[in-house]
Symmetry: C2
DNA sequence: CCTTGGTTGGAGAACGTTCTACGACGAGGA
DNA sequence: TCCTCGTCGTAGAACGTTCTCCAACCAAGG
C-alpha cells in the first residue's frame, strides 16, 4: 500500500517515468486522444493504477477543462432547489464532471461576486438558478462560459434557459380553488431584485398568470396581491395583510411553499382554521408540503426534471452546440388537505 | 466601458504592460508582499481597476492558494446544514475566500470521490459535515489539506473537529419528557455507515446519551430504540415499529427532525393524537420544526455557531497553526407543542 | 528503390500565476 | 573613496497539464 496522503502529489510525469513513456503519451491516454496503440494505453493505465494517479484539476484548468460545473443559487433553505440539484447530480453521474454549489444569498452584489469566482475558477459550465444580479453580467459571463439559467423567462442567445410554465401553474391553482367555490382568492407574491434587468422572473410571470386566470373566471374584481418576500416571515406579513382585510379572502395562494408556512401562522393567530375558514395553496411542492403535519396543496414543478434538463443542455453546450435553447417544463397540481370548499 | 465579457481574459501581464512594470511587481501588489513602493502600488492598483483585472484562480492554484474552501455534505434536504453553512458564510465574509459546496449523497464511494475532487481542485481547506466515507481517507485528505470535521466525535491530530454535545442533547430531551411524567420513552436512531472506521458518529453518541439518561432516571427497562434512517420514510418505519408495540411508548424522541415528520405520519395513521396520546420530540431544531403547522419540540445545536467555528478553525489552520483542535458546542432544548403530559 | 501515406510516439511551447534569486541604486559609516 | 546595508524592482524558473508539430517507422504501390 502506498501512503494514504501527505506526500507530494503523483503527477503525469511520475506516471510517464513509471511506464517508460513520455508525458505527452500519458496525456493522450488520459484524454483518450488519437495516436495511442492498445499496448501503450494498457501500459499507461496500469501505471496510473499502480501509482494511484489523479489528474490535477487546477493544472488542467490552465489549458483545457476543469471538469467542474458550477451551480449558483441564492439560499439553501428553499427545498425546491434540492430537487433541481438531484436532477443535475443524476444527469452528471457517470460523466467526468463534478458539480460544485455556491450559495450566495439574496444580495445582487454577492451573487455577482460568486458568479465571477466561478468563472475565475475556470469552471466548464454554469447553472444559475433564478439569478438576482444584473442581467448584463449574466450575459457577459455566458459569453465566456457555457451557461444555463433556470427560472427566469427572459431568454437570450447567449445562454440556454429552463423555465417552469409559471402562468400555467398559477392558473391550475386558481382553477382548483374556483372549482371549490372560491371567489375571493388572494395571492402572496415577492418582488424580485428590481432594476436588475430581468423582466420575466418566475414570481412576475406567476402573478400575471394569476391575474389572467382570475379575469378568465370573471373574478378580476376579487383579485388581491400582497407582495413581500418568499420566506416564512414574508408569508406571515402577507397573510396578516390579506386575512385582516374586509371582506376577507376565502382562499390564499402563496407564491412559494415557504411563504405558505407564514400564512399558516397568520391564520392561526387570527383564529382561522385551514381549510375550514380559509383554503391555502402553495407553490413548488417542496418536501415540507408533503409532510404529515402540513399536507399543503401545492404545484409541483418537476424540479428534478428541470435540473436534469439544465445539466443536459449544459453538456451539449460544452460539447459545442452553438444555438441557444429554451426548455419549458409543465407544472402539475398536487391536492392535499389545506384546500377545501369555500365557506358559505 | 470595456466589453462585459467574451474576449480574452485580462492577465497579470496585461496589467504589467499597462502600468509599465514587471509581472513580478504586479504579483507582489496582488499578494501585498514585501518590496513595493507606495507609488508603484498605487500605479498598479489603478491599472488593475482600469482593466477590470481579476486573478485567475486556477492558475493561482498551481503555485499558491486558490482561496477556495470546500464544504462536503451528504444531502441538502437536512435544513440543519443550512444553518451551518450560514455560519461558514458569515465567518468568511470579508475574507478573500470563497466557499463551494459539494453534495455527495449518502454513498461512501460518492463522498470519497467528491472529497478527492476537492483536493484535486487544489482547495485551500475542507469542511466535512458528518462524512460517511472511510476515516482513513479523511485523515489522508487532511494530511494534504487543512480539514475540519463537523459532527463526528472521533478526533484526530490530522484534522480539527467541531462537535455537538449530543449525549447532553439527548439527556435534555429525556429529562424534559420525564418531567412531564413519561416513562416509556422510545428513540428513533439511524445506523451510520458501518465499517467506515468512525466510532463517534453523532447518532451513536446520541443513542448512548439516551440510554445513559434513561438509566439515570431509573427507566432502563423502558428504553426502546428503532434504528432506521434519518429521513421521512425512515422515521415513518421507526414510528410504526415503536407505536404499534405493546405496551406503547408514551413519548418518541426522534433523532432528527426529519425523522420526526415520519413519526407524525405513523401516529396519524394509527389514529394517535400528538401530543395528547403521544409526545414527540426531534433533534436539530431545523426550520421545519418551527413552522406553524408543525411546532415540534426539538434540540437546537447552534448550527450557525458550529459553522462559524469550523470556518475560523480552518482559517487558523491555513495560516499555519499546527496542533489540532476540537471545539464542542452545547445544545439547548426548544419546547413547542408536540410534547405534553404523559397520558394517565 | 523511391514515394506516399498512415500510424505511433515524443519535444516542447504554451497557460497565468508565485516566488527565489539577484541586480541597481542611494545613503551612511569608515 | 570604498564597503555595507537597506530598499525597490526584475528575470526567470517553476507548477502540472494540453496540444501542436514533427520525426520515426512500416507497409503498400509504382
Amino acid at each position: 500500500m502506498h501512503p494514504v496522503g501527505g506526500g507530494r502529489r503523483v503527477t503525469i510525469t511520475d506516471v510517464a517515468r513509471h511506464a517508460g513513456v513520455s508525458t505527452s503519451a500519458v496525456s493522450k491516454v488520459l484524454r483518450n486522444a488519437y495516436g495511442v496503440s492498445d499496448a501503450m494505453r494498457e501500459r499507461v493505465r496500469e501505471s496510473m493504477d499502480a501509482l494511484d494517479y489523479r489528474p490535477h484539476a487546477a493544472a488542467r484548468g490552465m489549458r483545457g477543462r476543469t471538469y467542474t460545473i458550477g451551480v449558483l443559487l441564492d439560499n439553501l433553505r428553499n427545498a425546491f432547489f434540492a430537487d433541481i440539484l438531484d436532477g443535475v447530480t443524476e444527469r452528471l453521474r457517470g460523466t467526468d464532471y463534478q458539480m460544485l454549489l455556491g450559495a450566495a444569498g439574496f444580495g445582487a452584489e454577492d451573487q455577482r461576486r460568486l458568479a465571477r469566482a466561478m468563472v475565475d475558477r475556470q469552471m466548464d459550465g454554469l447553472i444559475l438558478i433564478g439569478p438576482g444580479f444584473d442581467r448584463h453580467e449574466v450575459v457577459g459571463a455566458a459569453a465566456t462560459v457555457p451557461t444555463v439559467v433556470i427560472g427566469h423567462h427572459d431568454t437570450s442567445d447567449a445562454h440556454d434557459s429552463v423555465v417552469d410554465a409559471d402562468a400555467e401553474g398559477a392558473a391550475l391553482v386558481v382553477g382548483h380553488l374556483v372549482g371549490l367555490g372560491h371567489r375571493r382568492i388572494a395571492l402572496t407574491s415577492a418582488h424580485g431584485n428590481e432594476g436588475s434587468g430581468w423582466t420575466g422572473t418566475p414570481e412576475r410571470v406567476q402573478r400575471r398568470g394569476y391575474l389572467e386566470a382570475m379575469t378568465g373566471h370573471g373574478l378580476a374584481p376579487y383579485a388581491r396581491v400582497a407582495t413581500t418576500a418568499y420566506s416564512e416571515e414574508g408569508g406571515y406579513r402577507a397573510g396578516m395583510e390579506l386575512l385582516a382585510a374586509t371582506p376577507r379572502p376565502t382562499a390564499v395562494f402563496a407564491g412559494a411553499d415557504v411563504a405558505a408556512m407564514g400564512v399558516f401562522r397568520a391564520a392561526r393567530e387570527l383564529g382561522l382554521r385551514i381549510p375550514e375558514d380559509v383554503s391555502l395553496a402553495g407553490y413548488n411542492n417542496t418536501a415540507v408540503a408533503a409532510m404529515s403535519p402540513v399536507q399543503l396543496t401545492s404545484v409541483d414543478q418537476a424540479g428534478g426534471l428541470m435540473g436534469a434538463t439544465a445539466a443536459r443542455l449544459l453538456l451539449e453546450r460544452i460539447e459545442g452546440r452553438g444555438r441557444a435553447v429554451t426548455v419549458s417544463v409543465s407544472p402539475s397540481l398536487v391536492v392535499r388537505r389545506t384546500t377545501g370548499p369555500a365557506p358559505r
